[in-house]
Every structure is written in structure tokens, then in C-alpha cells.
Amino acid sequence: MRTGDYKQTYGELVALVDSPPVWLWSVVLVLALIGAPYALNAYALSFVTIILITVVGALGLNILTGYTGLISLGHVGFLVTGAYAYAILVSKYQMHPLVGFLGAGVVPALASLIVGAPSLRLKGLYLAITTLAFSFIINTVILEARTLTNGARGIAVQRPELFGISFDSDVAFTWLCLGFAIATLFATLNIRRSRVGRAFVAIRDNDTAARVMGINLHAYKLLAFVTSAFITGISGALYGIYLSFVSVEGFPFLLSIEALAILIVGGLGSALGAVLGTVLIVLLPEATRLVFSLFSAQMDALFSTGAQELKSMLYGLAIILFLRFQPRGLVGVWHDLRRTWVHWPLRY
């Protein structure tokens, strides 16, 4: 019987998982996801794909917002930069898709360097403001750089072929996304365990103390921002491939907000939270549809008169309610459940 969280060595504190069964269940989950495409129809599968792509982006933002405590209101800017970098390299210049993915990470990372260097020197909401500005400016840049980006025409993107495997079918593409999601998950979990990750968290929790401990605030904040942009860019490339067509239109400002909502709903600063939040936010429209159909089977008449907007309103409401009543997010709910399960029938 597990009795509590006793950590006796530093090694235990930074362990990837806190108990062996977690490994077992993770493997089960991964196997289930690999098998999922065979059991699900194309519609359900598209949710799995979207969730996996979004998880990559959410984990990227989590490094910045969750670990380091900095807000970005324009992460869609890095998403679109990544998608364009991939599309230009692969579709226009016929480079290898792996080069494309690398570019999709590096180009946004460079952009984040430019945005981050001046604004990260300031405390408070300033990064949020600059990133917001960036996400609008980058759209104009993309539209103006016609020779490179085709301007408003956009670029068509084919599903890639890697290591001799074609990822053209929906099933194979889901696996590709799964691969990226797992890799990102491991990367962010390991960053969190490392010296760098602990520095990020120290900055978030108390920047004065962090500085006293010898952490170069500006450098580490910038590092968090660049890493975050790199991962988000790769998610953007996957998203572009999923859309099969990269244009500024496909990346509305709303995605920035959605990414933040994912972190809040999931639980800030936790990789598990980012995953849970993604699942909930992506499935939220589907869930509200379900709720609606419970109330009445004849919603069709209402659909044309604006009841559709109710769904987006519920989305906003979900953000507010989570912040108000469950600020620790889904991951908090999960921890509570787990504790109750382990300690039952005792309370503590």
C-alpha cells in the first residue's frame, strides 16, 4: 500500500514519474493510441489528430507560461511562422521533410529572439503586449513577402514521406503526430527536471530569489521563450500539413487565446495538465453538442437563429468557471481524485 509522498533523495524529487505504475499506464495509453486509428471512424480520428497536434503546441506554450510564468498573447504568430517555414522549405524548395520540420522550429525561434530580447527585460505584462503585436505584424510580413510566401494565395502542403514511410493516409499521419507529441512530452518533462527547468520555475515563483541564487533572469527568460517558440513552430508545421493548405487565414488570432485556455483548464505548469486541457478544450464543442442534444432533439430550428453562438459562449464560460472554482485545473482534480483513491477510507 502506498502511504504518502516521501522523497528521500534528490533523485526521487526529479524523477520522470513518481511511481512505476505510471509507466505501465503510459505504455497502455500509447498502445491504445497506436491502435486507435483502426477502431475509430475518420471523424473521431480527426479529433485524435487535432488533439495530438495541439498537445505539441500547448506543451510549447507551457514552457513559457506554465514553467516560467510569462504570458504570450500571440503564440499563433509562432504557429503560423512554423507552418510557413515548413511549407516554403518542403513545398517550394522541395527539401526533405525533416529539414522542413527543423526549419519550422528554427525560424520561429529566431523570430522569438527578436521579439523577446527587448521585451523580456521588462517585468509584468509587457511580453504579452509585444507578442500580441508580433502576431499581427507577422501576418502583414507574410502577406507582403509574396515571392517567398505566395502572399494571400497560400501554399499547398502535401503529407510527408519520412524514412521510406508515406504519411499520406489519415492513420499514418496520426501516428506521425503521436510520435511528435510523445517526443515533445519527453522533451518538456526532461527540461522541467533539469537545471534549466528548475531555473524557469524559480523565476516564476520568485524572481528576486532566483536572481539571488545566481540565475540570469534575462537569459533564462529568453531561453524559455525561444524553446517555447521552437516547439510551437513544429506544432504549426503539423497543423499546416493537417490543413493541407497554409495561409494566414488558417491561423486566426483566436488560436492564441485557445492555447492559453488549454493551459488554464488543464492546470498551469504541468505537462499532464497541458495534455488534459487540450483534450477538454478540443472536445468541448463536441461535449456542448452532446449537452444540447440531451435537452432537445429538435435543436435544428434553433441553429440558424444564433444558438450556435451559445457554444462559443460556453467556451468563454468554461475559462471563467475554471479560473474561479478550480484554479489548479484538471490536473488539480486529478490529484485530488488520486489522493482520495490512495487514502480511502481515510481522509489524509
Binding site: T140, R211, M313
Partner: protein, 290 residues
Amino acid sequence: MQYFTQLVISGLAIGAIYGLIAMGFAVIYKSTGLVNFAQGEMTMIVAYIAWTISTTVSGNLLVVTIAAIIAAVVLGLVVERLVMRPMLGEPLFATVMVTIGLAVILRSSINFIWDAYPHGLDVGFGRDIVRVGTIGVRTGQIAVIATLLVLLAAIWAFFRYSKFGVAMRAVAADDRTALLMGISAPRVHAAAWAASSVIAGIAGVFFAISYDLSPAMFQLGLKAFPATILGGLDAVLGSGVGGLLIGITENLAGGYFGSGMKEVAGFLMIIVVLMIRPFGIFGDRDIERV
């Protein structure tokens, strides 16, 4: 020269609207320390309510104005009481995200309650064109510039002389000390939200008179945001002036470099401002560097 003058004048007209909304941002920031990302949406809602009143009750200018102000006060108070007050004491990030959630809800309510068609707000005023030489301005545009100036003066006097204004400044400066001095912070917050909603609402109504109502109107909030950064997030008067400056900059950029530049001119300006004077032209110099 005439081209330039006309650009500046139409820049002032749209800039006055940005300025009003920017003042709305600043009023809330100054008294509660947070950026209200639902400012543009509140602007839009008040304008739509004014339009509903003008088409159902009376198109009289006075009736619409008074009703719109009442509606704005109610909106501000309801938002503060139901959404913001429960968040008192929560981390800044959470509170700011709540305003984003609020923005999503308000934005959707437009199509839910009204529709997606553009509408004209007709109060029998503001559409006529005044011509000086070859330069034309609508009366509504003159009125909004005048309103901005009057409000700037009124707000300056309010913060300087009225007891409540001083109380608001006290809460902004140090809410705990203010509390000990017997100032009710919730009441100050409520007043700030109501005031911000009214100022933004006025901007919305004027925009609807000079231009039109459409569900895309919330973007005014995004356009006004650079104005408040330029003027200083905590400077109510500065934000008003910042609006005028952004309006002129945008129009000059559009007039001399083309429309592509016009829409991002404000955002480019934000970046420049943050680099050289992050607290804005009129803001308090208490920015911490790291």
C-alpha cells in the same frame, strides 16, 4: 499640404475613438492593476444596445445618450460584481485570463442577440458633412473629438479634486494602506469598471454614428491597445492623447505607405515604445527592469 491636413484630420477623428477606448483600459489598469481584454467587446455591446434603443424606443439623441450611459454603467457594474470581484486576490494572470473569457462571451452574444448584418445608428445627428475649403468632416467626428477633450478635462479635475478620485488613486498606489485609511477597495473597483464601461461605450456609440455597427467592432479594442501603451497604461489622460497620436500615425502611414502599413502601424509603434520608453509617454516611471 491639403492631402496631409486631410489625413491628420481623419486621423484625429478615428484617433479620438481609440483614445476613449484607451482611457477605458487605463481607468481599469490604474485602479485594479489589470488589463481588461474585453474592452473592445464592452464598447461593441454598448453601441449595439444604443442601436436597439434608437430603433425601438426613440431615435432622439438625448434619449439614446442617457439610455446608453445607463446601459454602460449597468454592464460595468454587472461585470465587476459577477465576474471580476470573485477574482479579487487571485494571481494577475488568472484575472487577466478571466477578462479574455469574458471577451469571448460578449463577442458571441452579438450574433446571439442581434445579427451579423451591419447596422447604422441613426440619432438624427452626426452624419452631416461640414466642409472647410475642400476638407470634409462629419459632425459626429467633430463631436467625438470635442467629447474626448471635455472628458480629458473632466477626468483630470476628478482625480485632482474629488474625494473619490483621490481615493481611487490611493487604491491604485497601495491598496492595503488605502484599506486601512477606510477606503473600500471593492467600491473603487466597481466605480472604475462602471466608468471604464461608460467611456468605452461613448466611443462605441460615436463609432456607430460615424461608421457602422458590425460584429467585427470588437477589434477596436485591439486597435486602441497601442494607444494606451503609448500614453502609459496607468495614465488615463495620457491614453486619451495616445489615441489621437495613434490615429494620426495610422492615417499618415496609410496615406504615404499604403494600407498594409496602416493596420500594423500601431503595433509597430508598441514595439518601439516598449524599447525606448516602456512606461509610455505619460506613464509613471515605475517599470522594473530585470
